[in-house]
Chain length 205, copies 2
């Protein structure tokens, strides 16, 4: 799909057609395209819980202000950020070590830098997880639209309740939900809300 | 540009051709395309400082680990998140009021909900600013690439130093920098670092 058209046509869709499923192969295609997003040190401090079953939707809907679209969307993604994504436990470090021909000193230096930059306080850790996972979230919505799939990001949710219900680690943060599916064309889409443009938001120095 | 190709070809480019400028018209086109990104309640809790002059680059480079690309890139964007973006002071609320035909009760309800969701603690405020600005950052890199412009997100930076040097408000957070320009083709781009794929990062429920 042409990217300009995609940006114009990507809308946050409030109503999903509950009779149009997304199979796992298609979901994989979306995710595998979206993870091409960049991240700090390529650490990819994120993971996804994909809610596809009725049982899963029922666990989630009450924690998302009972939004009907959780029940209607064939898939809702819980986007999870890893506040400890710079730590030794991240498997990306092993991949990095291999990619630099086993130069342990170089990787140790990168780990030290990442820990200093992103791990020096609880604020920094949260910032690291949320901003990187934000990159993934946008990438997912664009990758989905490229495959004709509509989306709706949701942050009108019980962040702590979802964290608990789905057994997230202390080091993890619920960034947002993204409903995926196909717009229910029997419904009406509101006109797109206006955006603040270049002149409104940019200072040139 | 075809979005699949764009995703494959968008790389974080370490070397920018310092002889290829980006004029303000083109920069505006990138930003105005990127702001079509969604945000919570459409609050768009973000703004941008675009560093284009030598004087600006000299102020920034020392706060970005002296990365050469700050000096070479024709433009570097400071992506700023607004931790108070749900507050009355956000002009988007006035636009929302107009869009619902002056229904003050509806807008008051939305403000109350947003304040509850995003303003209940310092953590929540940071999370709100960083995740929404993350959506914008990814959108900017894709919009740039659509216009043939390469980019490089940077978070190996002195967040507090940049905050101070550029006079940001207490309620604002430096999310990341994004260098924009054209790859210096006399340099070599490293192979793309691998990504963790669907199977590695997704739990299905």
């Amino acid at each position: 799909m042409d990217t300009k058209t995609l940006f114009k046509e990507r809308r946050s869709v409030n109503f999903f057609d509950k009779n149009k499923p997304i199979d796992e192969t298609l979901l994989k295609e979306v995710v595998d395209m979206a993870v091409l997003a960049p991240s700090a040190f390529n650490l990819q401090p994120w993971r996804i819980i994909a809610i596809r079953t009725d049982a899963g939707k029922n666990r989630l809907v009450g924690l998302a202000n009972k939004q009907e679209k959780i029940l209607d969307a064939p898939v809702t993604l819980i986007i999870i950020g890893n506040k400890d994504g710079f730590a030794d436990s991240n498997p990306v470090w092993d991949e990095m070590l291999a990619s630099v021909g086993g130069n342990t000193e170089m990787v140790a230096g990168a780990k030290q830098a990442a820990t200093f930059l992103y791990g020096s306080s609880e604020d920094r850790k949260l910032k690291f997880a949320e901003s990187n996972a934000g990159l993934l979230a946008m990438s997912l919505m664009i990758a989905a639209k490229d495959k004709g799939i509509d989306s709706h990001p949701m942050s009108g949710i019980d962040f702590d309740g979802i964290h608990k219900e789905f057994g997230l680690k202390e080091s993890e943060t619920v960034v947002m939900l993204i409903g995926l599916g196909y717009f229910d064309s029997s419904k009406q889409l509101f006109p797109r809300r206006p955006r603040r443009l270049f002149e409104d938001i940019t200072t040139i120095i």
